[in-house]
């Protein structure tokens, strides 16, 4: 892996050199934004190269290549934020954006950029090499073909197979008035298999995928695609025999890994700094309170090697870290960016993220997970007289003010007399964020993170994230099936 200095050098070469920009000229622009009433200003240069390949109907049907680059300029005065961006990285456009961002405050006064503190991000959680070039196109194509034929061979009931492969190579460089000058070079790849199975006129789908901040070659080396095919086909076939899910309040056992979307919705969003600074979160002002059973310790960790949600630095140039949100059931920490941290008298936790140069920084999650307990998963299931065992989910949503959240099971089973019995159709689970983790009564020893597919949406911006958890039991939760009793 390359070190940070080469990331910065690579970023300057990619983002500044073609436009004839230099450290000095960019610093001059930043200096022009500053004035008496500006507390902070930053410039965010980004280039993103993206490709995708799609196989459908047994043929390589589509391929696309996209290049997007630009610069975002932000000026902050107290709680006021001025923001402008340009998709031309050239000096006049940069200066125009800087003046627009500054327009939130009256002109006048001078303030100096603080001494630069570049080089503080020394870790390299992922390789800087461009994943799009990690294998030749012919190999990408043959990977998709082999997965298509594997899915069709796996079961004659499989009627439709869609396999997609995508990759992004992103280079970002942040220069800020607080002395920050940092860069990050971020690879991100994803492989997905979606199948539709048909039997006696009934159709069901199954899908599985994964990825992370690594090269395509990982999919080949570890034969991850075969595993995704197996899982997608298994789910589709299983759903062919699923019966209506029950409705009402019952014990729910959640499987390990991706069901950690529970934590993301129920806890994570409610602990983002902006909602707590504004007092709009159901968790606002509850620091130090018991908000979960004492079994529960929840962290947000942006420092995991090659994980989808990991970052060497966030989009404000702050190194990512592992932040404890809940420790033994007690609320311990928020997720902060620089703006909200400053206004709350705290430190940034390296969670300032943005979808691109064209969007504002917001406090966001990275990889959010619940630490393991000491039960084996079988014990947890055996403890339930009648309930739901949900192992796969579509996604979720939360109203951070009322705390109400939902997440949608895509693979679930009934538990009857301590045994997993019939598969049931997908159902929505609904609960209240600050209350639901108090209902956690058993925790498995099988902590697992998801396979690398999470996309988190907030204020219209999407960013890649990870989730994880061990198998766990929630004593009472509302299940939204169609079947009474």
């Amino acid at each position: 892996m390359h070190n940070h200095l080469s990331a910065l050098a690579l970023a300057e070469q990619t983002l500044w050199e073609p436009a004839g920009l230099s450290l000095q000229s960019v610093e001059t622009v930043l200096g022009k934004i500053l004035g008496n009433t500006i507390d902070y200003a930053d410039l965010y240069f980004q280039s993103a190269e993206h490709e995708s390949w799609i196989l459908e109907d047994g043929i390589i049907k589509e391929g696309s290549y996209n290049i997007d680059y630009g610069v975002g300029v932000r000026a902050i005065s107290g709680e006021k934020v001025g923001f402008a961006f340009s998709d031309d990285i050239v000096l006049p456009a940069l200066e125009a954006a800087a003046m627009a961002a500054k327009s939130i405050t009256a002109a006048g006064g001078t303030q100096k950029i603080q001494a630069r503190s570049s080089g503080i991000v020394s870790r390299a959680l992922y390789n800087t090499a461009n994943p799009l070039q990690s294998i030749p196109n012919a190999e990408k194509i043959s990977l998709l073909r082999s997965l298509d034929s594997a899915a069709r061979k796996a079961d004659p009931r499989v009627k439709q197979v869609i396999v997609s492969l995508s990759g992004v190579h992103e280079v970002v460089l942040v220069m800020a008035s607080d002395g920050t000058l940092n860069a990050d070079v971020r690879p991100l790849v994803r492989l997905n298999v979606n199948v539709i199975a048909e039997e006696n006129g009934r159709r069901e789908q199954g899908s599985q995928g994964g990825g992370g901040r690594f090269a395509y070659s990982r999919f080949l080396e570890q034969d991850l695609g075969s595993h995704y095919v197996f899982e997608a086909v298994r789910q589709a076939i299983l759903n062919l025999s699923a019966v209506p899910a029950p409705a009402g309040v019952m014990p729910v056992v959640l499987g390990s890994g991706w069901p950690g979307v529970l934590l993301h919705e129920a806890i994570g969003h409610g602990l983002e700094g902006d909602f707590n600074r504004k007092g709009s979160s159901a968790f606002a002002g509850r620091m130090g309170e018991q908000v979960a059973s004492s079994l529960c310790t929840v962290v947000d960790d942006g420092t995991l090697i090659e994980r989808r949600g990991s970052l060497n630095m966030d989009d404000e140039g702050t190194p990512s870290q592992c932040t404890t949100l809940i420790e033994k059931g007690v609320l311990k920490g928020y997720l902060q960016d620089k703006l909200n941290a400053r206004l709350m008298g705290m430190q940034s936790t390296g969670n300032g993220r943005r979808e691109s140069y064209a969007s504002l920084v917001l406090p966001r999650m990275t990889n959010t997970y619940l630490l393991p307990g000491d039960h084996v998963p079988e014990e947890i299931i055996a403890s339930v007289e009648r309930g739901l065992y949900a192992v796969n989910f579509g996604g979720g949503q939360v109203d951070i003010t009322s705390g109400k959240f939902v997440f949608n099971a895509s693979e679930a089973y009934l538990i009857e007399k301590g045994k997993v019995t019939r598969p049931v159709k997908g159902a929505t689970l609904i609960g209240n964020g600050p209350e639901i983790l108090k209902q956690v009564s058993m925790l498995g020893n099988d902590l697992k993170l998801d396979t690398g597919v999470g996309v988190c949406g907030k204020e219209g911006q999407s960013v890649p994230v990870g989730v994880g958890q061990p198998t766990l039991k929630i004593e009472n939760m509302t299940v939204g099936g169609t079947n009474v009793g």
Partner: protein, 442 residues
């Protein structure tokens, strides 16, 4: 009526069409979309943020025989465009023959471009936008003492320009504008907090509702939700408010869209000409509504958009198709590459109030959460909030419940559409009384 920007974009596209031909491509299409916008937010009476946006993207697709490749770039300088074209051609060397791929059929392309009155540029300063947002938020905060906090009010402007051309000789563009004002406030109850919002949107600034009206309505909606309860698990009759009914029609349109159909990934596969709703349901697509939020003179492939029936007397009259999915299904495109353009549900005669009276007992849904809609099977299960109706009147707000059913059955059992039409989107509908659904509660 060719302006400078339009001329520039047309010249770029013409160059791309020629360049692709010279590189041996059989067909090519390209589009440039650009937009300029301003978004100004106020929170608790103070400026929160001012965002200026100015962006553009060029997207192109080349066809080499029956193979295709696509690329896009935000840089429209000649070198970047050449690189994008080269990338697309390179991709077309790896994709495989698809007998259904290609440009739209020439006879389907738009021949004249009607002026739909979609572009109303206005030079609105950040100061003015902030004043409008502030007026809106102030009226929300002054509405009721229980409004204790705010997520703020935002005034946004957006002016877009899209030019599309292809190697069949089509080259045209149009401009649109959109203005909106929204406000979200928070009210306190014994145990916690509730929030809700309201908004107004239009093609011209003068078409927006007044800031004070939007603010008051946001506040009214929020305090109405205070002290919500859960309700018991069981079957109940359900009315969807217009905002939520829009989602139901959206699921219908997804289920009859070409991509879902040719993949046989829809619960409405093979339902053309079949009764899927009761007789009184009528749905039209009206792409040429003047100032319409979903209006478009031609679709993403240059195909002429046309008014048509989608549902007539409950019977499915047509799918939602672009050229590719139409060919896969052995049909003609319906001018819906890129989506539908103003779907209008014929309203009933009853107000929401009289629908509630007719229902007597049940749930009025005003918020839905989560993604629990399976288009393959029609299975539907979502988080919900709203009001419990008893004796035909609202009794109390409810939350933290689920509603579930199957869309196919829900569609068949529709009881009525209200006359409380909401025009704030490309799907124009009143409330919808769905009949019985399973409620998951206590």
């Amino acid at each position: 009526m060719l302006d400078k920007e339009q001329a520039q974009y047309q010249a770029i596209i013409t160059d791309i069409l020629q360049g692709a031909k010279q590189s041996g491509m059989d067909a090519v299409e390209a589009a440039i979309a650009s937009s300029v916008g301003l978004s100004a937010s106020v929170r608790l009476g103070e400026t929160d943020s001012v965002e200026f946006s100015r962006s553009k993207v060029l997207a192109l697709t080349v066809y080499w025989g029956k193979k295709k490749g696509s690329a896009s770039t935000t840089d429209i300088q000649p070198a970047a465009i050449q690189a994008a074209l080269k990338a697309a051609i390179h991709i077309a060397e790896y994709t495989e023959d698809d007998p259904f791929s290609g440009l739209a059929d020439k006879e389907m392309l738009a021949k004249d471009i009607p002026d739909l009155d979609l572009y109303h540029p206005a030079d609105i300063s950040a100061e003015k936008a902030l004043l409008l947002a502030k007026e809106c938020e102030t009226s929300a905060r002054d509405f009721d003492a229980r409004i204790i906090n705010s997520e703020g009010a935002t005034f946004s402007t957006h002016q877009s320009h899209r030019v599309y051309g292809n190697s069949l000789g089509f080259l045209a563009g149009y401009k649109t504008s959109q203005y909106s004002l929204s406000c979200t406030v928070i009210a306190k109850e014994q145990e916690g907090m509730q929030r809700d919002y309201d908004f107004t949107v239009g093609r011209a600034e003068s078409d927006l509702l007044s800031p004070a009206f939007v603010g008051k309505n946001a506040a009214f909606r929020t305090v109405q939700r205070l002290n919500a309860r859960k309700i018991k698990t069981g079957m109940a009759s359900v009315i969807f408010s217009p905002e939520m009914a829009r989602g139901l029609w959206g699921h219908l349109l997804s289920a009859i869209s070409g991509g879902q159909l040719y993949r046989r990934a829809s619960f409405l596969v093979d339902h053309l000409g079949k009764q899927i709703f009761p007789n009184f349901i009528h749905l039209e697509e009206l792409p040429h509504l003047q100032k319409g939020l979903g209006s478009a003179p031609f679709d993403a492939e240059g195909v002429q958009t046309k008014p048509r029936d989608i549902i007539q007397a409950g019977v499915l009259q047509g799918y939602v198709l672009g050229s590719y999915s139409a060919r896969k299904l052995g049909l003609k495109t319906t001018g819906n590459a890129g989506g539908v353009h103003n779907v209008v549900v014929t309203p009933g005669k009853e107000s929401l109030k009289s629908l509630c009276q007719a229902m007597q007992q049940g749930l009025l849904v005003t918020e839905l959460m989560g993604h629990g809609v399976n288009l393959v099977t029609g299975d539907y299960s979502r988080g919900a909030a709203g009001f419990w109706i008893e004796g035909g009147e609202i009794q109390y707000p409810v939350h933290e419940i689920t509603i579930a059913g199957n869309l196919k059955e829900m569609f068949k059992q529709l009881m009525a559409v209200g006359n409380d039409i909401d025009r704030r989107s490309g799907i124009i509908t009143g409330s919808v009384w769905v009949g019985k659904m399973m409620i998951g509660g206590t």
